[in-house]
C-alpha cells in the first residue's frame, strides 16, 4: 500500500526561503525582480533576487541550495571508492576532471602517486582533456544562447556529442563515468580509441575556428560582452576566483602548470590569458575568449597523449589498469588538501582520516563554481538587467557543483 507522501497543513504554504529584501522598505523607484529558479538563463536552479531601479541593477542576491544533496554528509558514510560516483554528480559537465582530482587526492593519502603506471596517467589526462573541451563547449555555447545567438548552441551540441560518444565508448556512460578509479582505471581504453580520437581532433580543429568566427568574433557578441562585467585582477584574487575567471582577468595561473600534477609537466601547452583585446581586461569577452583558446590547448594536449599512448606507452597484453587498485582503502590518520584544475577553476578536496576506518572522517569539497558565483553581486552593481544575464553566463557555473 502506498503511504501518503505529503501531509497537508496551511503552515506548509508559507515561503520557506524568505527574501533578503523587504518590499515594504523599498524606496519608491526600487523594485524586486526574481529571476529563476526555473529560468533557462540561470543555467539550472539558481534564484537571483534583483533589486533594481528600472533597468539598472542596484543589488543582486543569489539564492542557492535548490540542488543541495549534501555530498559531504554522504561521503562521511561511504568507503573511498564508492564516493567516486557522487563526485561525478557534482560537476556533471566535467565529471572526468572531478574524478581525476578525487582519485589523485586519495592516492596521495595512500602514498601511491608515483607508482601509477604512465599509461594510466596518460589515459586519465586524455579523457580529462576531452571532458574539458566538452565543458568549455557548453560554457561558450550556452553563453551565446543567453545573448540570443541560437546557431552556435546547435553547433557545439553536435560537436560535444562526438566527445560524449567517445567517452561512452570508453566508460559505458555518457556523462557520469565512474571511469577513473583510485589507483587506476575502470578499464583500458577500447581498441581503436586512439585512432578515433585522432579523427576527432582532425574533424574538430576547423570547427573551433568556425565557432570562433561565428560567435566570439561576431560584432553583436562583442558589443554585448566587451567592457561588461569587468573583474579587476586584485578583486579576482581577493574573492577567490579561479580558472578562466582568474585567467580572463590577466593572471597566467593554471594549476596544471603550477602544481604540475599527473603527467602535465611532460606535456607542452600554453596558458591563455585575457588581454583586453575588445575592451577592458577581465570583461565577459575575455573570459569567453580564454575558454575558446583553452579548447585549442586541450586539443594540443590530447594529440601528445595519443602519441604517447600509441608509442612509448602502448597497449600490451599484460597491462592491467586495475593492477594497483587497492582492495581496501585505509589511509593513515592525516589531513590533506588536494587541488586540481577543473574546467571551471580550482577543485579542492579536504580529507581528514582517522586511520581506523575505510571511510573519511570529513570530506570537504572546495567547489570552483560556488566560489566563482559568490563574486556575482560584486560584478553586477549598476549594470543593466540584460548585462546581468551576460555576466552570469560568462562565469560558467554548474548548479550541481554550487549546491553539491
Amino acid at each position: 500500500m502506498k503511504e501518503t507522501q505529503y501531509i497537508f497543513s496551511p503552515d506548509n504554504l508559507v515561503a520557506s526561503e524568505p527574501n533578503k529584501f523587504d518590499a515594504s522598505k523599498l524606496k519608491s523607484e526600487e523594485m524586486i525582480i526574481n529571476l529563476g529558479p526555473q529560468h533557462p538563463s540561470t543555467h539550472g536552479v539558481l534564484r537571483l533576487e534583483v533589486l533594481s531601479d528600472g533597468e539598472i541593477i542596484k543589488d543582486v542576491v543569489p539564492h542557492i541550495g535548490y540542488l543541495h544533496r549534501c555530498f559531504e554528509k554522504h561521503a562521511e558514510s561511504l568507503p573511498f571508492n564508492q564516493i567516486i560516483p557522487f563526485v561525478d554528480r557534482m560537476d556533471y559537465l566535467a565529471a572526468m576532471n572531478s574524478e581525476h582530482a578525487y582519485a589523485m587526492g586519495v592516492e596521495r593519502m595512500l602514498g601511491i602517486t608515483n607508482q601509477i603506471p604512465k599509461r594510466v596517467e596518460y589515459i586519465r589526462v586524455l579523457v580529462a582533456e576531452l571532458n574539458r573541451i566538452a565543458s568549455h563547449l557548453i560554457a561558450v555555447g550556452t553563453f551565446g544562447l543567453d545573448l540570443g545567438a541560437f546557431t552556435p548552441f546547435f553547433w557545439i551540441m553536435r560537436d560535444r556529442e562526438h566527445i560524449l560518444r567517445l567517452l561512452e565508448w570508453a566508460s559505458g556512460a555518457r556523462m557520469l563515468y565512474n571511469y577513473i578509479w583510485v589507483g587506476g582505471l575502470f578499464y583500458d581504453v577500447p581498441v581503436g580509441f586512439e585512432k578515433r580520437c585522432r579523427e576527432f581532433i582532425t574533424y574538430f580543429k576547423p570547427k573551433v575556428i568556425e565557432l570562433e568566427q561565428l560567435l566570439v568574433d561576431n560584432k553583436i557578441f562583442i558589443d554585448r560582452t566587451a567592457n561588461i562585467g569587468v573583474l579587476p585582477l586584485n578583486l579576482a584574487i581577493n574573492s577567490g576566483a579561479t580558472g578562466p575567471m582568474l585567467r580572463g582577468s590577466g593572471l597566467r595561473f593554471d594549476l596544471r602548470k603550477v602544481d604540475g600534477y599527473s603527467v602535465y609537466p611532460e606535456l607542452d601547452f600554453d596558458i591563455p590569458i585575457g588581454e583586453g583585446k575588445m575592451g577592458a581586461t577581465g570583461d565577459c569577452w575575455d573570459r569567453t575568449w580564454v575558454r575558446v583558446r583553452e579548447i585549442h590547448e586541450s586539443l594540443h594536449i590530447m594529440q601528445q597523449c595519443i602519441d604517447k599512448l600509441e608509442g612509448e606507452h602502448k597497449r600490451t597484453r599484460e597491462f592491467d589498469p586495475q593492477a594497483l587498485v587497492p582492495k581496501k582503502i585505509r589511509p593513515q590518520a592525516q589531513e590533506i588538501y588536494v587541488r586540481a584544475e577543473n574546467p571551471k577553476g580550482e577543485l579542492g578536496f579536504y580529507f581528514r582520516t582517522d586511520g581506523k576506518s575505510d571511510i573519511p572522517f570529513r570530506c570537504k569539497v572546495r567547489a570552483c563554481s560556488f566560489v566563482n558565483l559568490s563574486i556575482l553581486p560584486e560584478l553586477c552593481k549598476g549594470v543593466l538587467i540584460a548585462d546581468l544575464i551576460a555576466i552570469l553566463g560568462s562565469i560558467d557555473i554548474v548548479l550541481g557543483e554550487v549546491d553539491r
Binding site: 497537508f8 506548509n12 581577493n238
Partner: protein, 160 residues
Amino acid sequence: MIAMDNARLIELVRSVAGTAEEVKNTTPLSLSIDASALILVCEQLHKNPETYFDMLTCVTGVDNGPEANTMEVIYQLYSIPFNHSLMLKVILPRENPEIESVTSIWKSADWLEREVFDMFGIVFKNHPDLRRILMPADWNGYPLRKDYKHEETYRGIKID
C-alpha cells in the same frame, strides 16, 4: 624575494599569535592557533611581503563529535607569488562556537563562512550577511555535526 620556508613561517605566526602548534601528518603545513589571535595572524599573513597569502581558497568546519567536544575551523591559504600553502586551524568548543569573520581581509570568506555556519552552526562574528546558504532558512539543526539526527518530514513532505 624568496618564499619563506616552513620554520620561518611557524616563527612568524608564533610571534603574532603567541602560540602556534604544528599539527602532525598534514599536507600542506598546518598550524593550530588560538581563536582570539585569528584576525591578527591573518592580517599579518596577508600583508607581510614575505608571506603574502593573497588567496583564501577554502574554509572548512570539522566536528570532532560529542566525545572530544570540540569543533574546528580550517582555513586554506595560498600565496600566488610564492606558490606557498598553509592550513590554519582554530579549535572551538562545541557549545556556542563563535569566531571572528575574516571577510574584511579576504572577500572569498563571505560564502565559505556562510556554508560553515549553515552546516555546523559556527557563528562568524562581524560577518556582513550571515544567513543559511544551502539549507532552507527554517531548517532545524546543522547537518554536518556528528550527532545530527535526520528529519522525518519537512513541511509535510516525508523524507526517506
